[in-house]
Symmetry: C2
Subunit: 185 residues, 2 copies
């Protein structure tokens, strides 16, 4: 597992504010899974909340509904092929952790694992909103702990340098954008 430092909760939204693709990890009753999600966003600052779309067909959905917990992991460009793989295979048919070589470590406050090699991690507890979940596959959650690799995020700021060690933004059909130049206005 790569290094990580705690991100103060009022700054946790900054891990997602630029709209990166995330991995949703989950666990319940001895089973665990990881899937990719392009559709997530911050929902509030403090306490931090997030929104994420989790399709009814997925094993992740079953584990998140059963446990009431998940982790949003921010993968790096080095992990783009893995991100695509866990976004297109189903955890019902295969153990994605072993198939795609995903390492994981224990989170601090939730049962879902932290995915090794990611840039940041948000431990989340579902805020039950049955209508959103049923009608829109939309899950709202409170961020209860947040972490980042200090090589790329510290003091509330991203500071990417390496071309491969930065976040990614999925388009479709195996195509991504890397997070690009930082600039101030």
């Amino acid at each position: 597992m790569n290094p990580r430092i705690a991100v103060p909760l009022p700054k946790a939204y900054r891990l997602l504010n630029h709209g990166p693709t995330v991995l949703v990890s989950s666990a319940h009753g001895g089973r665990r899974n990881v899937m990719a999600a392009s559709w997530s966003m911050p929902l509030d600052f403090d306490p931090p909340k997030v929104a994420v779309v989790i399709d009814k067909s997925t094993l992740t959905r079953e584990l998140v509904e059963a446990s009431g917990e998940f982790v949003l992991n921010v993968p790096s460009r080095r992990q783009a092929a893995m991100t695509l793989a866990v976004g297109t295979q189903s955890g019902r048919e295969t153990d994605k952790f072993s198939i795609v070589g995903v390492g994981a470590a224990a989170a601090s406050l939730v049962g879902a694992p932290l995915i090794d090699g990611c840039l940041a991690w948000l431990e989340c507890r579902v805020i039950p909103e049955p209508r959103n979940q049923q009608a829109y596959d939309l899950f709202l959650a409170e961020v209860v702990a947040a972490w980042a690799d200090p090589a790329v995020f510290s003091n509330g700021r991203w500071h990417f340098a390496d071309d491969q060690w930065r976040s990614i933004h999925y388009l479709s059909g195996g195509s991504f954008f890397a997070t690009g130049d930082a600039f101030d206005v």
Copy 2:
């Protein structure tokens, strides 16, 4: 107004899938406004839906609730300073269109305007969900028409070339990322 071509509705999610910062434009009863929003995402493919957070304190909130409509506009890097300006000033105190030099054109199906110089536009009708709106400032909407500048999006694909003519991702404190390198895995 820069050129625009219609984006088929089942492809409209691709305009937001990579998580760009958007401008939310709105109009009602002879008033109009535009604000920046980092917290938006696709919610469904077909019919396309979106989710966006609109704070209770904003004029945009008042206009969106009154009209049931808004447009999500995808600004370019050229518009980053304007995006920051319309994200930090209130439309209650100033006509942001004149102050920050925002041009606008009529949309096709909603009363909210299309912001000139943007890369893409999604005309949206609110799906009333009063609990989400009240408890989370969260608005769900159906995309009823979508447009893109063919210089950067056509046949369902973004194809940025110019450094300034690409989408942006807001962080905080006046800092943005540009959308970076495209790559396939």
